[in-house]
Each structure stands twice: as structure tokens, then as C-alpha cells.
Symmetry: C2
Subunit: 421 residues, 2 copies
């Protein structure tokens, strides 16, 4: 009897993380002679700790196929990081207890940097605690900040969402500018690295096209420079469309969104970055503004996913299973770029020791000298990642996303386990 | 020689107002024996007042065809309402001077309620000031608040955007709820009527599906009721997805978004409605939240336009020309619903006296008794309006929107005219 597998989703979900789940499940089913049932963790690693496992063999082929076009995490995700072996041994002993009870010999963890750390620790269960298991990390993060991979599955679709949205809003504000709104700000998620904001820059295919200004976390906010760039765009093109990363910082390192004074109730200023920038534009330049905050819409927007991203997300799931069957452990599946144009890529792998807790920032030469847009070099890197559309099926005008049965696996350990807060 | 036509776009633009422009231009070209050149006003009626006219005959058929899938206002829009004949006679005399110089006998104005008023006044130029002109209003408003038409071109696409977005975000927050975000709020444009918020309700096709709570401007905000509904959804379904209209009001009639105290700088509270609701959820229920503010993205989102809406937008433009050629004036083109399912519609017309400055609110029986969702009656009304997808063409992963030449018509009056502020 082949050993069973555990698969779980971790961290912030994306529009395409379920395509990776589909890749894992498809490949495991294809190799059922060598890999048993895939048990999914309900809500990530927590599902293993609580022995709350989902029997994916009860899902139809159609349901598995539907994962490819369904956003969010079909099995539930979590924000929960395993501590070190020395500080939380009980968690590892519990994992082993549950894995042993369900004969789990393969561990696939689908997440970002923090999750890579969890996966690394699980890969060490054999050496440290004598429980043999192969652990493979399936990369996923809209932040695109994992090292040693050309890009991160989940990012391409966010990039496409941001580029499409700022292009569209740019057309809108340009029409309104004569008598009304002249400045539009789109605030995007991405606290530590500017990849998602940079992606907006792809919409500028000719001079004057939106976005006119991009604000990166990597470039300390310079009020005068920003206002000058906005004013120049309005004077030259009639309007100014801005993409601003939520992670924008002051020269002191403080997040701009947290720099406002407290309000009358003593609360920190509400509303994030966009309204602060908007007020600045209004107070100093006297331009009428509008702003949008994309938040979850950008990472859940499966309706405008990148086809390349969907294909890569599927591929990293499938490759994880294949790597495991070849005997690998303690690695992350990677995307390797063979050429920019045409974009040719393949999957590879990298050791988790070199991945976990390492954040890849934007190189400085991806940002123009003035700090307000992307360079040609950046464009060459980003452009392939948003290629192609991969529309979900629609019924009644709405995308038809699947909801799995998520049937619980009968408990075998059946002992309570208390999660630390 | 047939008389020429004036066409202009007014008020907040939409993802499909250019499809109406295409309808007007196509029909005028088809009837070039009876209608001369269509001069577009640059930035709405302002283009007429400033004699800033665009020669649409210089645009290729391909460019005109491209208007169908291009968001924003291709000729520029304006927020500018003609005053009464008695208070601003100079404006009307100027219009006549410009129209006479360019032999304009047809006036097509593409906008919402305020614009209908402007169109009505132009239709009276003959009776009041002796200049014969036929004025037809081409309806456009994402707010869906024009009377005497089944729906307003521009609304169906916003409705689809909101329904798709809250469905997608609902999948996201449901995945995160175990250890992180439990409540998601999507703030939507629509200051006076709840149509755009109601549209989100279409995403709830089965109990428990997002959105769980909708906040309408028509229902005075009840804090305890709101918190109860949110808490119930979280307890029952694990998470709560909310669509909130920016026009939400307190029982006093004050906008909730303006109810916050001023901040330390004496400014009114920044950030609009969503952060206020979010803080309430956090303070009172202790649930982690996220929120998005759709703003222009929802009305510019041509990539997810409703096919029905695109078709209706085109049809009202075409019908306007046909009505004019039949001798009509002082009317708005309307959409008439013949049946709900299958959805059958045709165009008609309504007198502008009954349209201008009348706002259609949501009927109370379109909102559930508890005030937090839509009724079946509302669903039957809304459902047809989001049917069908009408994707723009893509290149390099981005939608290809057209930018017209917008060549200026040589001035004939060539006298300055000062716009009142």
C-alpha cells in the first residue's frame, strides 16, 4: 500500500491557489499506485494539528477540475507558523501522531515565506524525531517575494488585475478631468515589496498613459517630489492616475498610512494610505480626487486571472507530487525562466533552507531614477506574467466557482489538542 | 444638405457610455443622406459653449467600432448644468451662435438626470429663442436612477462588477476566517439610491453565499441590527461579506461617512464609510476585518461588462438618431422590458419633462424586511441586467482600448466665451 499524502493551503489566499491544489490532486490520482489518498488539512497546518482532515478522494473529477477556476482556498487557509522544535515540541509530536495514524508520508504545503518555514520544519521530522516524511513546498504568494523562483504563482493574476484596473480608471479620470476629478489613486496590497504596484506600470505602453505615478515601498516617500510629479502629469496630460503601495514609508521607515495623528476618539487615523495621499493632493494642489482601495478584490479576482499564472500554479502543484515521487524533500518547487520573449519557463526546485524567511524586494534598477515608475528592465521581467486570459465559466451572468464537499476523514487519534494562541 | 448633429457625453462616465457613442455615430453614418456630420462636444456641453467641437468624420470605422469596448468618455465629459433661460440667457445665445455657425440641427446628449435637464432646455431653444433644433437624450448612469426606463445603460455593467467582486471576495474571506479575517466590507458608489449595492445581492444564489449583509441608503443605519446581522453570519457561516453603499445614512438623514468627528487637524474624518463600519465591527465584535473601496474601478471596469448592458447602450444611441430622423425632440430614449425570463426588451421614448431631475429610488419591496438583503422581486428585476460577458480584445495581456484622434473642427464663431465657475 502506498503511503498517503497531506496537502494544505496557508497564508493569504489568491485567485489561483486552487489551481495548485488541482495540480497536486491530479498528479496524485495519476500516480495512485505510488501515492495513496490525499488528505487535505482543513485550514492549513491547523487541520493536521487538530486532526481535521478532508478526504479529497470523495471529490468528483469535475469538482477537482473546477478548482482551476475557483478563487480563495478551497480547503481553508490559516495564518499559523510552527515555532522551533525546542520551543514547541508538542506541536511536532502531535503532527507525527496524526501523520502516523493516517499513514501520511508526503507533505505538500502551499503558501509563501512563512509557510516555507513550516514546510522546512516538517521536512526535518525524520532527522530530528525519527518520523520519515517527504515535505515539498508549493509556492504561492501574490506578493511575489519568494526567492529562487522567477516569480510566485498568484502574483501574475494580481499583476494583471492591477494593470487592467489602473488602465480602466485612467480612461475614466481622463474623461472627467476638465470640470471634475483630475487625480485618481489606486491603493494596492503589498506591504513589504513593490511588485504589485510595479505591475500597474505595465499599463503604460506609451507616454501619457496611466499610471502616471507609482509609489513603491522601496522608495521613501518624498512629499515635494510626489506633488511635483502629480502636478506635472495634470498639466501635461490633463489628469493623473496613481498606483500606491500600501507599504509606502516615510524616510524614517514609518508607514505613511500610520503617520497620521489620532482622531478625536484617540484612535489612529482610519482609512489607510489612499485618503492621506488624496488629501495631500487636494490641500496642496487643489485638484479634485477619487481613490479606490483594491484590497482582497485584487487577490480574489479570478475573473481576470493571468493564463500564464494559472498554468504555473497548476504546474507547481503537479511538480511537487512528481518531485516527491522522485524522492525529493525539503525543497520548494520553482519557476525557471528560459527566455523573456517568447516567454519560456519550466519548473525546478530549490532547497527550503534558502527560501524560508527570505524576502525578495524589487531591484533598484526596476524603478526609474525619479522613483515614480518602472524601467524597461522591470517591464521585460513583468510583461510575460500577465499574458493570456483564462475566464471562468459563467451562469446567470456570474462566474461559477466550485465549493467542495470537504468530507471529514474519520478521526483515528481522536484526542483533543489545544492550539496556542 | 442635411443638417449636422452635435453629440456629447455628460456626468460621471461608465464602462459602456462609448457604446452609446458608437450607436449614435453608426446610425448617423448609415443615414448620411439625412444627417450630416456628427460633431462631438469636447467635454460635454462645454464643447459647444467654447466652440470646441470634434470632427467625428475623421475617425475610422475601426476606431468607431472600438468605442464599443472602451470605458470612459472618449470625447471627454463634464459636470456642468445649464441654468434657467432667465438666469443665464447668455449661455443659450452662445449655444445658438455656435450651432448656427456649424449648421447643427440635432442635439444628442448622453448622460443622467442633470444632463436630461440640460437636454430638455436645448430642446426648448426653438420655442423660446427661435432656433430650430431637435434634442434627444441618450440615457447613461451607473446609478440606475432615471425614471421611465426599465434600467439605465451603464448600470448593468456596474451591477455585474459588484456581484462578481463580492462573490470572489466572499470566497477569499471564507478561506481566511479560521485564524484571520472574518469580515469583509466592499464599499460601492451610489450616493442616493441603493441599486448598485443591491446588485451585489445577485451573488447570493444559495443561503450562506456572499454577500451576507447589504447596507442600502434607503434603510437608515441601525448599529445594533447591523452588528447582530454580522455576528449571526460569522457564527453560522464562519465569515461575513458585506456590500455597503457609500450613501448609507443615520436615522437623522446624515451620511454615516460624514458622521465621524474631525481629526486632530480639524479635517472631517477621512476615508469614507468602509473604515467606519470596519472599526465598529472590530470594536464591538472583535472580528478581524478587511475592506475594499471600489470607486471608479466599478464604473470603469469594461473588462467585466454585462453583454446586455453593452447591447442596450448601443441601442439607445442608435435609437436616438432614428427618433430624431422621425422628427422627435425633447425625449429620452428608454429601455422597455417585455418579459423577465427570458429577458426581452426594446427601446422606447419618454418626454424629458417627466425625466429631468426625477430620481428613482429602490422600491421598499426590493429590500428584505430586515433591511439587509434583496427580495426575490428585486432579483427578478436585476438578474437579466448582468447577463452575458462581452470581453474586450487583449494584447500583451491588457485590454486594448481605443483613443480617438479627436480632431478639432475649425472655429467659425471664433469668439471667446467665459464659462461661469
Amino acid at each position: 500500500m502506498p503511503r498517503n499524502a497531506f496537502y494544505a493551503q496557508s497564508g493569504g489566499v489568491t485567485a489561483v491557489i486552487n489551481a495548485s491544489a488541482q495540480g497536486v490532486l491530479d498528479a496524485a490520482r495519476r500516480h495512485s499506485d505510488r501515492m495513496g489518498t490525499v488528505y487535505a488539512g482543513r485550514n492549513g497546518i491547523i487541520g493536521a494539528l487538530l486532526e481535521d482532515l478532508i478526504d479529497t478522494s470523495q471529490e468528483s473529477d469535475a469538482a477537482i477540475a473546477g478548482l482551476r477556476h475557483t478563487p480563495g482556498g478551497a480547503f481553508g487557509s490559516c495564518r499559523f507558523k510552527l515555532k522551533g522544535f525546542d520551543t514547541n515540541l508538542a506541536e511536532y509530536e502531535r503532527l507525527i501522531e496524526v501523520f502516523k495514524a493516517h499513514d501520511i508520508g508526503y507533505f505538500f504545503y502551499n503558501g509563501g515565506g512563512d509557510s516555507a518555514d513550516t514546510c522546512l520544519k516538517v521536512s526535518q521530522l525524520g532527522a530530528k524525531l525519527g518520523y520519515p516524511i517527504q515535505a515539498i513546498h508549493v509556492p504561492k504568494t501574490m506578493d511575489n517575494d519568494l526567492p529562487l523562483t522567477d516569480c510566485c504563482p498568484g502574483f501574475g493574476s494580481v499583476a494583471k488585475y492591477v494593470a487592467v484596473s489602473i488602465r480602466e480608471a485612467g480612461f475614466d479620470v481622463a474623461s472627467m478631468a476638465k470640470t471634475s476629478t483630475k487625480v485618481f489613486i489606486l491603493e494596492v496590497l503589498g506591504r513589504h515589496a513593490g511588485w504589485t504596484a510595479a505591475a500597474g506600470g505595465l499599463a503604460t505602453e506609451a507616454p501619457g498613459q496611466a499610471p502616471h505615478v507609482i509609489l513603491f515601498p522601496e522608495i521613501a516617500f518624498d512629499e515635494a517630489g510626489f506633488l511635483g510629479a502629480v502636478d506635472a502629469a495634470v498639466k501635461r496630460y490633463g489628469s493623473c492616475a496613481i498606483v500606491a503601495s500600501e507599504g509606502l514609508r516615510l524616510p524614517s521607515g514609518q508607514f505613511l498610512s500610520e503617520s497620521g495623528a489620532t482622531d478625536a476618539f484617540g484612535h489612529a487615523q482610519l482609512g489607510g494610505l489612499a485618503p492621506l495621499l488624496a488629501r495631500l493632493v487636494s490641500d496642496k494642489l487643489r485638484y479634485k480626487y477619487h481613490y479606490a482601495i483594491a484590497d482582497y478584490l485584487m487577490r480574489a479576482g479570478r475573473h481576470i486571472a493571468s493564463k500564464v499564472d494559472v498554468e504555473q500554479s497548476y504546474a507547481v502543484g503537479r511538480s511537487a507530487v512528481e518531485l516527491a515521487l522522485e524522492g525529493a524533500s525539503g525543497v520548494m518547487v520553482t519557476i525557471e525562466r528560459k527566455s523573456d520573449a517568447p516567454y519560456v519557463w519550466t519548473t525546478g526546485s530549490a532547497p527550503l533552507e534558502k527560501v524560508a524567511n527570505v524576502e525578495r524586494k524589487m531591484p533598484r534598477d526596476f524603478i526609474t531614477e525619479d522613483g515614480f515608475h518602472i524601467t524597461e528592465r522591470c517591464r521585460r521581467y513583468l510583461a510575460p506574467l500577465i499574458q493570456g486570459e483564462d475566464y471562468p465559466p459563467y451562469r446567470n451572468g456570474l462566474p461559477q466557482y466550485v465549493v467542495l464537499k470537504n468530507a471529514a476523514v474519520p478521526r483515528k487519534v481522536n484526542k483533543p489538542f489545544e492550539l496556542r494562541k
